[in-house]
């Protein structure tokens, strides 16, 4: 295993958005191939529409329909599109002032290369074949070679914002890809677990032993570099019985979530208690780790089948005196 561990961490969630009256009309409009803006107090047409006036902060609700073609006001070439971007071939990010609008909308322009893009060029919306009421209903923009009066809207036209089946909310999936590293101290700790050893680190100033170690003492602010083997036995200092199942956990409820002060450690770590009915767990219970083959969930496969303390079980020793662990609660 490497000296300092790393692993991918993917954070993703389908957030929901309540749209409010203005975005509701705007996104439903896109579904119906209609682009709506809003008239601000100074007469400017703002596209995409805002709920509140950018100058006076007053509520603005006067919707107008603008054109589906417009002019590029500035752009940047994107040579390497990433997952989730509007096009999977290189494209230009463009700000487009649609005909009839006074502000520009950010979107993608499908163009063969940066030489084909310029500020001031005419573009038009390429609608997505399937539209749901989302900004992606505009698949992208494309160069607009047509000239003159082709019947498209040029001036903003008042619109009541009403459509059949008005959309009031959307789902907005978000995903962040990280490379997570627990750092040097926790890497040492995790690697020692493979040998069924629990390694803490001692602060050179206050002499407290931290498990799991963090590489620095949060009280003294100095690096901890001395490894100290602790446990394997410890004392339950406090606990709760979890009766609700979290969506990201495959642990059957009820289970006991306990704080365990390993012998030789100066603060408790958190672990599950097994091997005893949940309603018989108590403060002061003496416990030991139950090692299980198999790496931590969410960890790289090269962790192999290194054992980890899956949970802790009673040792059978008499309970610890409250006074012996009360400072560790």
């Amino acid at each position: 295993m490497p000296e300092i561990l790393t692993a991918p961490l993917v954070v993703e969630f389908p957030f929901t958005r309540s749209l409010g009256p203005v975005q509701s009309a705007f996104l439903t409009g896109l579904r119906e191939r209609t682009v709506l803006g809003v008239t601000a107090s100074d007469g400017r047409v703002v596209v995409p529409p805002a709920e509140y006036d950018p100058v006076t902060a007053e509520e603005i609700r006067e919707l107008v329909e603008v054109g589906t073609a417009g002019t590029v006001t500035t752009w940047a070439w994107n040579p390497a599109p990433r997952r989730g971007q509007p096009l999977d071939t290189p494209f230009a990010w463009v700000l487009v002032r649609l005909d009839g609008a006074d502000t520009a909308l950010l979107h993608a322009l499908d163009a063969p290369g940066p030489d084909a893009v310029r500020t001031g060029m005419r573009v038009r919306i390429r609608w997505a074949a399937e539209r749901t009421g989302a900004i992606t209903d505009i698949a992208c923009f494309e160069p607009d070679e047509s000239t003159g009066d082709d019947g498209r809207t040029r001036e903003p036209v008042a619109h009541d914002g009403q459509f059949p089946d008005l959309l009031t909310g959307i789902t907005a999936p978000a995903r962040l890809d990280y490379t997570y590293s627990p750092g040097a101290a926790q890497s040492r700790y995790i690697q020692a677990l493979a040998d069924r050893r629990t390694l803490g680190e001692r602060c050179p100033a206050c002499r407290k032993v931290y498990v799991p170690p963090r590489g620095a003492c949060p009280t003294c602010g100095v690096a901890t570099s001395t490894q100290v083997e602790v446990g394997p036995r410890g004392t339950v200092t406090t606990f709760c019985i979890v009766n609700i199942k979290a969506r990201n956990l495959d642990i059957d409820v009820p289970y006991v979530y306990a704080h365990i002060a390993l012998d030789g450690a100066d603060l408790a770590l958190h672990a599950r208690i097994g091997g005893i009915p949940y309603d018989q767990v108590r403060m002061g219970l003496r416990v030991e780790p139950v090692w299980a083959d198999g790496a931590f969930p969410h960890s790289p496969e090269d962790m192999g089948a290194a054992p980890i303390p899956d949970h802790y079980r009673p040792t059978g020793e008499p309970d610890a005196d409250y006074d012996s662990y009360k400072e560790l609660i």
Binding site: S18, I251, L267
Partner: protein, 388 residues
């Protein structure tokens, strides 16, 4: 040069509910801000700066929402600051705003905090699949329940104390039209029979998940003199932090909380908080935190907080009413929850708390905490201006 006295002249909040599907986040904060301006009888042009707070961006998944909210909060062309201190953020946001007025940087500041939990998932946001760690935790309740058990063991408090707090706060909420939970048929027996979620914490002893926002207008003496209603005056305010986990941390009564309270009392000239403070709004997301904070904030000796709860002292008509608004147990738009505590304290000393008004409240404490009991923010407000 002494500090400028700071007055609260406007307070606004939304009607907190599980889901406000009819408004965007902008629409939600706008309601609270509009009500605060109306209370102070000011317009957007009267505001010099905006200070906004919310819990982690992760919760709704909108990165730096303050950028998008600048127009909704009339911040265009003005300074706008974002504050973040986890669950205590509503309190620390108000304190940052108050300090801007106290330092005479700005004369009139709009401060606002919000959370739209229906668009978010706090339990998910707090339980990310971190590599090399065993996922164990089921939300904030699982984190705090062991500390509640430790409090019970340390003090010998009867098992029923938590249910008394929940029953009291939910009844107080019936008098607060803005509160999220209005459980008209609730009885103490029902609280005590509700399911155990994170033993020793029962369902009815747990805060709800709310959409809501809270806003306040803070201003200087000149602004206060023009205010249409009596202001609340800030007599003291402080924040303290400590690490989430460290050797020697006292989760039952964190040192940072004690230090924060002591600083506030020193500023306000309070020597006996139990006698000199008329009402307390404290951050109690799980009912047992009422007796725990009563001790941490110096209203009771260590080990004695539960006796105040048990004897009815903290009831709305008691000697030291705690959470007359119904508290976090009845309303929890996380980012706004701290500011709601601060705002309720101000409402009480302004005499504008309506049905949940504490008779004769002249001095009130607002309290918030966040993270793993690591961030604390508090203010003490009074009906009279502070001695300069």
């Amino acid at each position: 040069m002494s500090k400028e006295p700071v007055a609260v002249t406007g307070i606004g909040q939304t009607h907190h509910v599980a889901a406000r599907r009819d408004v965007s986040i902008a629409g939600l904060v706008r309601e609270a801000a509009g009500r605060a301006l109306e209370d102070a009888q000011l317009t957007w042009a009267d505001i010099d700066a905006v200070v906004i707070g919310k819990a982690p961006d992760f919760f709704e998944g909108v990165m730096m929402p303050e950028l998008y909210l600048a127009d909704a909060l009339g911040a265009v062309g003005k300074p706008m600051l974002r504050v973040h201190t986890a669950g205590s953020v509503g309190g620390s946001t108000a304190l940052v705003a108050a300090n801007l007025v106290a330092a005479r940087v700005h004369r009139t500041v709009l401060t606002l905090a919000f959370e739209k939990q229906s668009e978010s998932n706090a339990m998910w946001g707090l339980s990310l699949p971190i590599p090399f760690q065993q996922p164990l935790l089921a939300g904030a309740g699982g984190f705090f329940a062991p500390h509640i058990r430790a409090y019970m063991r340390r003090t010998g408090a009867p098992d029923t104390i938590g249910s008394l707090v929940a029953y009291k706060d939910r009844r107080n909420a019936l008098k607060n039209p803005y509160a999220h939970l209005h459980e008209t048929g609730l009885t103490l027996e029902k609280v005590q029979a509700s399911p155990m979620l994170w033993d020793p914490v029962r369902y009815s002893e747990t805060c709800p998940s709310s959409d809501g926002a809270c806003a306040m207008i803070l201003t200087d003496r000149t602004g206060a003199a023009r205010a249409p209603h009596p202001p609340a005056w800030v007599h003291g305010g402080a924040m303290r932090s400590e690490p989430t986990l460290f050797a020697g941390k006292d989760f039952v009564s964190p040192q940072a909380g004690k230090d924060c309270a002591a600083d506030v009392y020193r500023q306000a000239g309070i020597t006996d908080p139990r006698r000199e403070i008329d009402a307390v709004e404290m951050y109690v997301p799980f009912s047992w935190y009422e007796p725990m904070w009563l001790e941490n904030l110096g209203f009771a000796e260590e080990g004695e907080g539960w006796k105040l709860t048990e004897s009815g002292v903290t009831e709305l008509d008691g000697d030291l009413p705690v959470n007359p608004s119904g508290g976090v147990l009845s309303t929890n738009p996380i980012g706004a929850s701290g500011m709601l505590r601060f705002a309720e304290a101000a409402l009480q000393v302004r005499g504008r708390a309506g049905e949940h008004q504490v008779d004769g409240a002249r001095r009130a404490l607002g309290h918030a905490y966040g993270g793993g009991s690591q961030f604390f923010s508090m203010w003490l407000v009074g009906a009279e201006p502070p001695a300069v």
